[in-house]
């Protein structure tokens, strides 16, 4: 009986290197593909920005007599702006968005009721805070969920 010593083919080292390379390329392709499904989160204070909304605390009141909506920031988060919604029977409608009017912690600010669309005494308003976070290198404005807003009545 003769033993054929066939030495043709890939050496074990080359075969291993090829397998590892293939595995790495496949992993890279799958990672790049899956990454497109996951949106980059907006961050504030090293946490998702939604969590920063829990630290928002403010007081608001609106007087038709002096025509202003006054607001005091009592929380730990500077307010970048406000979104004002008018609540009615079975509807909530946006009547004004005021970005870029930062109200720092402990400070107060005001909005003229004339800037709001169709608001008068007796109307109920939902004042929703807007805060600013970071997404990568960019600043992003985020409007908190309505449950972090304050419902007030125009007196």
């Amino acid at each position: 009986m003769s033993v054929i010593n066939n030495k043709k083919g890939l050496s074990p080292v080359v075969a291993t290197v090829l397998l590892i390379s293939l595995a790495l390329i496949l992993a890279l392709i799958i990672f790049l593909w899956a990454k497109s499904f996951i949106g980059e989160k907006t961050i504030k204070f090293d946490k998702p920005i939604e969590e920063a909304c829990t630290s928002v605390d403010f007081e608001a009141e609106a007087y038709s007599s002096d025509g202003h909506l006054n607001l005091v920031n009592r929380g730990n988060v500077p307010l970048y702006g406000l979104e004002i919604r008018k609540t009615g029977a079975g509807s909530i409608s946006k009547v004004g968005t005021f970005g870029g009017r930062t109200i720092d912690v402990g400070e107060n600010g005001d909005i003229s009721l004339a800037e709001l669309n169709g608001v008068s005494a007796g109307d109920k308003l939902l004042v929703v805070p807007m805060i600013i976070g970071e997404q990568g290198d960019q600043k992003r404005v985020y409007t908190c969920e309505s449950n972090y807003g304050k419902e007030i009545e125009v007196i």
Partner: protein, 182 residues
Amino acid sequence: MFKRGLSQVVATVLLILLTLAAVAIIATVLVPFVKNNLEGSTNCISPQKRFVFDDSEYTCFERSSGYALNGVSVKATGESSAEDAPSFVLDFINEGSSTSAPVVDGSSVSLTNGGLRMISMSQNTLDIPATGELRTYVYNSTVPVDRIEIHTKLKGGKVCPAGDTISLRNRPCISPINLTLG
């Protein structure tokens, strides 16, 4: 020693040609096919929750002799955008049968049986809520519906699977709430 068969050079050339042919087929047929099908199956992930029901007191039914009014409050969340998800479809389900009512911004309201209107009778067209807003729609039927589903409709016309569902069973409107506002 027999030397029949392919020479090494011819075999190598054939293998290279086969590889090139395989790459060409994958690039021109398989990749676009998989890409198109993936887009179709993933483009509803975020917009599906664009419109959800609000558990408001106006989500209720009123029953009179011969007809019923079914009120449902819909709010627009921050998921997706009005550009990508401009409208939605409401499915009114009752004992195994269902009726679909497309809600398109600016389309006419209907006061007939099977029609949809806004809660305010003074509004002649349907209105889609913007992000953070809420609207209440009233569906006219002969009997109160059991369940309502909401399906976001993408700008390309694709209707997504139900993003939310709500039951109207045991939810009669409680006075002073009524579904016919002036």
